[in-house]
């Protein structure tokens, strides 16, 4: 029975983290899948959201005096707003660049933010991180607490999915895809390419900030390690590409599958003798990189490829009547 509870708890935590990654991947899907914008600084936006919510909601603790003790919802909403503001600034500067340069510029922003987190100890508590971040549903008993949080994450994913699906099917979504596939043609039709791109970038950044806030509250802790590019940027890219970019269902399936795989391999390396465990963890990273290569070469469209909505049927003009 205890073993069963253990498995249950494991599954719940797996799905919770997978769901948080799905929020991130949905945001990236908006930028890359629909907008064709190569954001290689996902970890930066994630960090902005995580730290914003953590600082606003954490109580003042001895040894670290920044903390406002505000309600969690205030933290989460502010996290999204702040990520949107950062996304807007980055987008204004970088979106006119070609893909490689956009990647470089976004990496740069993420690395600078990491420097700030490591060094501005008065704000972020440096490498020790922020502790005692409140978590919703903490009054519930035992596993129900985790279930409730999973429910919250699932609700966020569902809401985001519905919103993005509506967006993707709307005229806005069609314009985004048009810009991605043929920028010149879209511009020739009078679409303001720069403005559409900026909108997609800001909305995607908001989702990434949201996922950061959800992570901070899930672990009740946020430290600089959570903002390492490997843990966020790389993994979420692999998740989105494996799941299928420009397909919101793929952006949910990919994270859950890859996160399960990632955690399962951790269990495997855990069974190795101690002197091999550390190497095993690097081997997992290597395999994630290799997985990305295999997906790119063999299944470039991902598990759930893009299915553009069918254009609305033009009214048929009957030849006889005409």
């Amino acid at each position: 029975m205890n073993a069963l509870v253990g498995y249950g708890e494991y599954a719940v935590s797996l799905l919770t983290i997978g769901g948080i990654y799905a929020v991130m991947a949905l945001g990236l899907n908006l930028q890359w899948g629909y907008g064709g914008l190569f954001n290689a600084g996902v970890s930066g936006f994630f960090a902005v959201g995580a730290y914003a919510s953590a600082i606003l909601t954490a109580p003042v603790t001895p040894g670290h005096f920044v903390g406002f003790g505000l309600p969690i919802i205030v933290g989460i909403v502010s996290a999204m707003l702040l990520s949107a503001v950062v996304g807007w600034f980055v987008g204004r500067i970088c979106l006119r660049l070609q893909s490689d340069y956009l990647a470089m510029a976004t990496i740069g922003i993420a690395e600078i933010l990491r420097l700030v987190i490591d060094n501005e100890i008065w704000l972020t508590n440096g490498s020790r991180g922020i502790v005692a971040i409140p978590r919703p549903f903490e009054d519930l008993p035992g596993i129900w607490r985790d279930f409730a949080y999973l429910g919250l994450v699932a609700a966020v994913v569902a809401a985001l999915y519905i919103a993005l699906e509506l967006l993707a099917r709307s005229p806005w979504g069609r314009v985004m895809r048009a810009i991605r596939d043929n920028e010149a043609a879209a511009a020739a039709f009078g679409k303001d390419v720069a403005s559409f791109r900026l909108q997609a970038f800001v909305l995607g950044s908001m989702a990434m900030g949201l996922s950061g806030a959800l992570t901070a509250h899930a672990f009740k802790f946020i430290g600089p390690d959570a903002t390492l590019p490997l843990i966020t940027t790389f993994l979420v890219w692999v998740m989105l590409i494996a799941g299928g970019s420009a397909n919101n269902r793929g952006a949910i399936l990919g994270p859950i599958l890859i996160w399960t795989l990632w955690s399962a391999t951790e269990l495997l390396t855990g069974t190795l003798p101690p002197e091999w465990q550390i190497r095993g963890s690097y081997l997992r990273v290597f395999l994630i990189g290799l997985l990305l290569q295999v997906v790119l070469q063999r299944f470039p469209r991902g598990l759930l490829p893009e299915r553009p909505p069918r254009p609305p049927q033009a009214e048929r003009v009957d030849a006889k009547e005409g």
Binding site: Q98, D100, Y101, A103, M104, E111, Y282, G289, L290, L292
Partner: protein
């Protein structure tokens, strides 16, 4: 004198390291047309390959450099065959994503084989050599600067005096015209990897001599390398060398206490200087100081 000893010399050393890395980045961009995001990790591999040569054959790090350059060049050719060439006819961005994956794989390989701890080639403190009593320079800094000058000279003669080097520049400047002239793209790209990766290995070794070996050393350099390549006009090898020196000097000089007894920029934010220069270039002079390709 403090300015020269503590800021200018380290700036030139760092600049030489950046220059060697940025040349490869710029050449690869020019010939193969993509931003090689695994370049920093190729540098890391070069530094660790040197470490193995040093321990295996008991050579000094500089003597082991040719072995490391060769090993790194072979690795780069292998990576190109396996992970980049399949996407030659795809949109550039796919190769860029692939190079991200390669960066991750290279770093974890280094961690698997050499461990994640900081390493050094040799232990012990060596005193700097003093000239004219006040002008001091560490022997390792002399070695780095001299070796960098030698390597850049070799590259210069290769690019200007050999058929292959001229072909490389031609492909970089005018790919379609170069193809019409019968230049074999496969050979040119092969040698681009040999030179790019070889110089990256040297840059990695010099960085490790100057500081220490760490699996993240190369990744952390990616930003200044791109900044240098962009500053010099991407696709322009000579521009990249100048760009590397400028960025290296700017980073070191930025912590000089010019107006007060506090550094201009806190030393922790040195990388930020490179980034600020890069963003400024992208915004106001995207073709680079020396007229490279535009990237809008």
């Amino acid at each position: 004198m403090g300015l020269i000893n503590l800021y200018l010399i380290p700036g030139i050393v760092l600049g030489s390291i950046y220059a060697l890395g940025a040349v490869g980045l710029s050449l690869i961009y020019g010939v193969l047309r993509f931003g090689h995001f695994a370049h920093g990790d190729v540098m890391t591999f070069g530094a660790y390959a040197t470490l193995s040569a040093v321990t295996l054959f008991g050579l000094s790090p500089l003597a082991a450099l040719p072995i490391a350059m060769l090993a790194t060049a072979l690795l780069a050719i292998l990576i190109d065959r396996l992970f980049y060439r399949p996407f030659r006819d795809h949109p550039t961005i796919i190769v860029v994503i692939a190079s991200f994956g390669v960066a991750l794989m290279l770093r974890s390989l280094v961690e698997i084989f050499w461990g994640a701890d900081d390493r050094t080639y040799e232990t012990g403190i060596r005193r700097p050599v003093a000239f004219f009593d006040t002008f001091m320079i560490a022997p390792r800094h002399i070695a780095i600067i001299v070796a960098a000058v030698v390597l850049v000279t070799v590259l210069h003669f290769f690019l200007t005096r050999t058929r292959l080097g001229k072909a490389m520049r031609a492909v970089s400047d005018q790919p379609s015209l170069a193809r019409v002239c019968g230049i074999d793209l496969d050979t040119v790209s092969l040698w681009t990897w040999v030179f790019g990766a070889g110089l990256a290995a040297a840059a990695g070794l010099f960085l490790a001599i100057d500081t220490q070996l760490n699996p993240n050393m190369g990744w952390n350099l990616l930003l200044p390398l791109f900044a240098a390549a962009i500053l010099g006009g991407i696709g322009k090898p000579y521009g990249a060398i100048a760009g590397g020196l400028v960025i290296g000097l700017a980073e070191e000089l930025s912590s000089f206490p010019l107006f007060s007894d506090r550094p201009l920029v806190p030393p922790d934010y040195k990388t930020g200087v490179a980034f600020a220069i890069m963003v400024a270039m992208l915004l106001w002079r995207p073709q680079g100081l020396f007229r490279g390709r535009s990237f809008e």
